[in-house]
Symmetry: C2
Subunit: 319 residues, 2 copies
Amino acid sequence: MTAFIAPNLDDIWRAATRIAPHAQRTPVLRSHSLEALVGAELHFKCENFQRIGAFKFRGACNAVFALGEADAARGVATHSSGNHAAALALAARLRGIDAHVVMPRNTVRVKVESVRRLGARIVLCEPSQQARAQALAEVVAATAAVEIHPFANAEVIAGQGTATLELIREVGRLDAVIAPISGGGLLAGSAIAACGLCPGAEVFGAEPTGADDAARSFAAGTLQTNASPDTISDGLRADLGAPNFAILQRLGTRILTVTDAETLAAMRLVYERLKIVIEPSCATPLAAIIRYPSAFAGKRVGVILSGGNVDLDALKFST
Amino acid sequence: MTAFIAPNLDDIWRAATRIAPHAQRTPVLRSHSLEALVGAELHFKCENFQRIGAFKFRGACNAVFALGEADAARGVATHSSGNHAAALALAARLRGIDAHVVMPRNTVRVKVESVRRLGARIVLCEPSQQARAQALAEVVAATAAVEIHPFANAEVIAGQGTATLELIREVGRLDAVIAPISGGGLLAGSAIAACGLCPGAEVFGAEPTGADDAARSFAAGTLQTNASPDTISDGLRADLGAPNFAILQRLGTRILTVTDAETLAAMRLVYERLKIVIEPSCATPLAAIIRYPSAFAGKRVGVILSGGNVDLDALKFST
């Protein structure tokens, strides 16, 4: 990997221009009844309506279209069993280049097929971090493809920041922004955009108690990991990335943890009041707003709804 | 009831102005993958995002705010166990007048409570059409409240038509518009707006096979009823109203029937692809587009998504 240079607000503006022909400009929703419930003004940025059903398309699209012609011609590669795989596959197809995606063998078949349908070349590997890293290294060695990491990548972070940029341009100054945190790509991008556009705004990351490496990392001041993540928020099981942690520390971000029961209760409220489909990970910010009301009371809050790729057959609203 | 004069496009424009301070201007969504699936351009008007979660607020709001001061002071009344009850309660509260709602005793408690919370006075009655009509007559006799029928009312029809007016103003000329049909308030309003703004446009009503009185009425040329409606589309069990039928016949509307299995499959597609929460009734238009592809192929189609008030605990996507 080349040296990491943290993106700034200008990079997010450039990302917004770069992805504009391809990404959805997602709507912002509000709910009288939810605002009455929490005592704050809530502006929900609906990335569940983004292409491939999640904010991940912004980062992958920016990273793919930021490549020079020669690099792009080599194709791109990543390992992911989730939304980044689909996002990178679609972005590569839109640019007309190859995408190689390493996925663990135990990935549910429907996810593998959906990434394949988007035109990616799939490489299956054993379900361990080590096997994934090794398979990716082999793909990169064999094809010379450019690795696009799902979160520890400056162009990915800048791309994810465009959701908050759009939100603030649409609704005006916010007092606080909250997004889920896992690897930290979305939250780092959100924090750069929010702190750049609204000096003094507070930025919060919402994290499940069963995968609370970010909360522990902030408490310890050094990067911690999850030994065995245990949460229904399947998009929030990855460990926080080192460059993401550095950005979030510098910008004074705070981490709020929520239980799975709180996440499911918040998810139910989103279905009932906003009438939109979201995945559990995506409900953690609202769960945190409800659990920590004093942090948000009376404020204008931007809530980044990260995605809506939920298994409808397994959908349930309590633990 | 006073003599019924069918509303025209001017009445819908007036309704749009009247309800603008109160109603949501709901978003229009599209889906690349759904359009590829059906081979038509689909513009989904999302009334599940309307206040009280359904298009019904438009009609109730227009009827309540169209009343003169003296009539309004008498309050309004209706019988309904569904979205019209909540819609009328909210509209009355916004105007600062009384709403009396007759509901059958077997209405689920949560629905009764939600209408009560909106400030309506609830009158419970036995669960029969006759008991409902009699209880309403007694309320009107005792209070002098103005009855606002859920669909056989010109101001209600004009109000419901504002959804299609907004849709066409936003996306331009449509070749076809499709909405669910039950009492016919939404479809009559949609047809008046579509035929007025887009001469030559086709208008379709989507109806469950288990409550297909509208299809039979059009086939027979005289109004038919449902002896015992049998459908998961709980919002589509009422019989078509006489004035609504007359409007729809005059405008050349066509009725397309769908099975409950087709409705649930379409509902699943909406959750998966559009990432929004809808109720079964609301999925009948997409089910009809999928069942009768030749009626829509290659056309620009407006699809009125009627509402999103679904019981999340009972949510399922197959029969």
